[in-house]
């Protein structure tokens, strides 16, 4: 799995000093660029809506310039990408590649966990939601026995709570249920 993912992962890591254009399109690249172009166009219209062309020093001029640069640059990238051969023979093949290389199951599961974590945080509080998230994420990603994941989760949750409350004095959401470690609910 990791071997098949390597090209996308490496390209995605973006650590190349002066990256070269790939020969083939990446799966989903065209659609992504169209979305980017659409967003840029929408931003341009919105930016025009701020003050129109009333004055050259109005609050809307700079946003319009930025949005126009986005439209122009995304068009440029899109034209460049269209010159390259597509990632697959058919739409279905490209979609399959997109799922495999860009949003594989692992990403979908982890993203779902993150969303659930963030949504649950206001109700459960930082402590309980983080502990639950860490435990589930470790169980899913880390191929170790469940008790190791549990042990690590407990250690980390206590460490994070102590470090944040005591050293950094960060206010963490306690949640409407008010779950917290005894002695640290100040």
């Amino acid at each position: 799995m990791s071997e098949t993912n390597a090209p996308v992962a490496d390209a995605a890591a973006g650590d190349q000093p002066d990256g070269h254009s790939q020969c083939r399109r990446r799966p989903g690249e065209g659609v992504f660029l169209l979305v980017a172009l659409g967003f840029a166009g929408w931003a341009l219209v919105e930016a025009y809506g701020i003050a129109g062309f009333t004055s050259l020093s109005s609050p809307g001029v700079f946003p319009m310039l930025a949005a126009a640069s986005m439209v122009a640059s995304s068009l440029f990238v899109l034209l460049d990408v269209r010159r390259r051969p597509p990632a697959g023979a058919s739409g279905w093949a490209i979609a399959a590649q997109f799922v495999r290389h860009v949003v594989p199951t692992r990403h979908v599961v982890v993203l779902a966990l993150i969303v659930a974590y963030l949504v649950a945080m206001p109700a459960l509080g930082f402590l309980a939601s983080s502990a639950a998230f860490l435990l589930l994420a470790f169980l899913y990603l880390w191929r170790r026995p469940w008790w190791q994941a549990l042990l690590l989760t407990i250690t980390l949750t206590v460490a994070v709570q102590v470090v944040f409350r005591v050293v950094f004095q960060v206010v963490l959401p306690t949640g409407s249920l008010g779950l917290t470690l005894p002695g640290l609910s100040f």
Binding site: A11, P17, F62, P63, A137, W142
Partner: protein, 502 residues
């Protein structure tokens, strides 16, 4: 005398001393562990430390910065995975040395030379920043606009796959920076009538999203990659080696400082240029370059450490961050109510000298930690990504929440994380986005001031760009930068044989 006292602040205060030490040590690990980055750590730390005294927060963050730039070299040598972009050149000769069982020697030598390079950079900061700051007092609004543009475009053109992608990323950042009430007229921009968006999107939230969450999502691809175990013995470098490489180290440090000080170029470019310099000037290396030449290890490491001090020069005197990492540091200064720019040195000289002393101290800690604790180090960098990724997510969530205690920020962070992930997958860099977020509002304000100064007349506005010496120099630089991106011109440029083809 006063300056000496200010320089020594971090050295004499036990709390600041400890924070700098902890920061440097943590930075070494952050830089070394594949999957963690300095930008990620610094972004998250800003939100954790914003309630602290400014000195304490900066001590910790600059320690992490100095340690992190160096830490990337460790994994470059041991695993052939540069922990940070600035360590790419280090891997070329460092990894062959490790393969030969000389990892300890390589690490010892890089540590020593990094510290020398770092000290040269700090000395340059102390020597040149005050002069540049008083020169920068003559800069007009349009000059700041030009500097901001040059900074974003340079980062965009040098780091990404194509210039157009860099422009897109930079403009996206500027747009994100525009959201909220306009500071000049209090009109809403991209607020859609909601109160939530009126305060704007906090730049730290954007940083954590783009550097923390997005990076974690990218790392998910390589969760199964096995950690490589390494044995390291001797770390203290031989005096003979240090003496032999000192000349090259100092030259590379000079290159690093200058490249670091240019807007848009940071440690990664500095290291590659110093590597190229070492290749061209070393007549008889002990081993050929690419097969474990010590020169090829020393030059990039001295240069990228020197670039730290260099990068602080434009950041503190002009308020222009040179790269993504300094953009994050500038965020740390903003959040403590400081305005980096020519007035920083006259209004708060104590802070400037404190930073200089602190960077020097961090380099000293680097020497101590760099040459010790190797056994523990090899254990920690084996930490699997499956454990790291969930931790990064939790830290990012806390960081985004803590900055304003606003749950909405956490959703923004996730959104930026997902956008950043797709940008990275399709070959866009997120560095220019952050530069845009930081510089956008400054450029907007300066553009409008310059336009109002020209009484709204486009002709006068444009003529001002070429009739004042500073503006003319900067306009020329911007124009050259743009011309160099024209495809035809690039082809001519690329046809020349590369200097390092030997």
């Amino acid at each position: 005398m006063e300056v000496v006292a200010q320089l020594a602040t971090a050295w004499l205060d036990p709390w600041l001393l400890a924070l700098t030490g902890i920061g440097t040590l943590a930075g070494i690990y952050v830089g070394a562990i594949p999957g963690l980055s300095v930008t990620m750590a610094a972004s998250i730390l800003i939100s954790f430390t914003f309630k602290w005294e400014v000195d304490a927060a900066l001590a910790l963050i600059s320690g992490v910065f100095v340690g992190g730039v160096y830490g990337g070299a460790r994994t470059a040598i041991l695993l052939n995975i540069p922990g940070a972009p600035s360590a790419i050149a280090t891997a070329i000769d460092g990894y062959p040395m490790a393969q030969r069982g000389e990892a300890g020697e390589a690490i010892g030598l890089t540590t020593t030379m990094s510290v020398i390079g770092g000290m040269v950079g700090v000395a340059a900061l102390a020597a040149f920043a005050p002069a540049l700051a008083s020169f920068a007092l003559q800069f007009q609004s349009r000059d700041y606009l030009l500097l901001g543009l040059i900074g974003i475009l340079l980062v965009g053109s040098l780091s990404g796959e194509s210039f157009a992608k860099g422009v897109f990323a930079g403009a996206l950042g500027v747009l994100i920076g525009m959201v909220g009430l306009d500071p000049m007229t209090a009109e809403g921009r991209f607020t859609f009538g909601t109160v939530t968006l009126m305060g704007g999107i906090h730049y730290v939230v954007a940083m954590i999203g783009f550097f923390g969450v997005a990076e974690a999502l990218v790392q998910l691809h390589s969760v199964d990659r096995a950690a490589v175990k390494q044995r390291i013995d001797r770390v203290i470098p031989r005096l003979r080696d240090v003496r032999r490489q000192l000349g090259l180290t100092l030259r590379a440090s000079g290159i690093g400082t200058v490249i670091g000080a240019l807007p848009g170029t940071g440690g990664d470019i500095a290291a590659l240029m110093a590597y190229d310099h070492a290749r061209r000037t070393t007549r008889h290396p002990e081993r050929p370059f690419g097969q474990g030449a010590k020169e090829g290890l020393v030059a990039p490491e001295a240069a990228n450490s020197a670039a730290v001090g260099g990068a602080f020069i434009p950041m503190l005197t002009l308020g222009i961050p040179g790269d993504a990492v300094t953009a994050v540091i500038i965020g740390a200064l903003f959040i403590h109510g400081l305005k980096p720019g020519p007035l920083l040195l006259t209004d708060t000289p104590d802070l400037f000298w404190f930073l200089v002393g602190n960077l020097a101290l961090a380099n000293l800690f680097l020497l101590v930690f760099g040459l010790s604790g190797i056994r523990l180090f090899t254990k920690i960098i084996e930490c699997p990504r499956a454990v790291l990724i969930p931790i990064i997510i939790v830290l990012s969530a806390v960081g985004a929440y803590a900055i304003q205690n606003n749950p909405v920020d956490v959703y923004w962070m996730l959104a930026f994380g997902v956008i950043g992930y797709f940008l990275k997958v399709y070959g866009f860099q997120v560095g220019p986005v952050i530069l845009g977020v930081i510089l956008g509002p400054m450029m907007d304000a300066n553009y409008r001031r310059a336009m109002i100064g020209a009484r709204g007349d486009v002709g006068t506005f444009l003529v001002d760009f070429v009739t004042h010496p500073i503006s003319l120099a900067l306009s020329t630089a911007l124009l050259l930068l743009l011309i160099a991106q024209i495809p035809g011109w690039r082809r001519v440029f690329h046809r020349r044989p590369p200097a390092d083809s030997g």
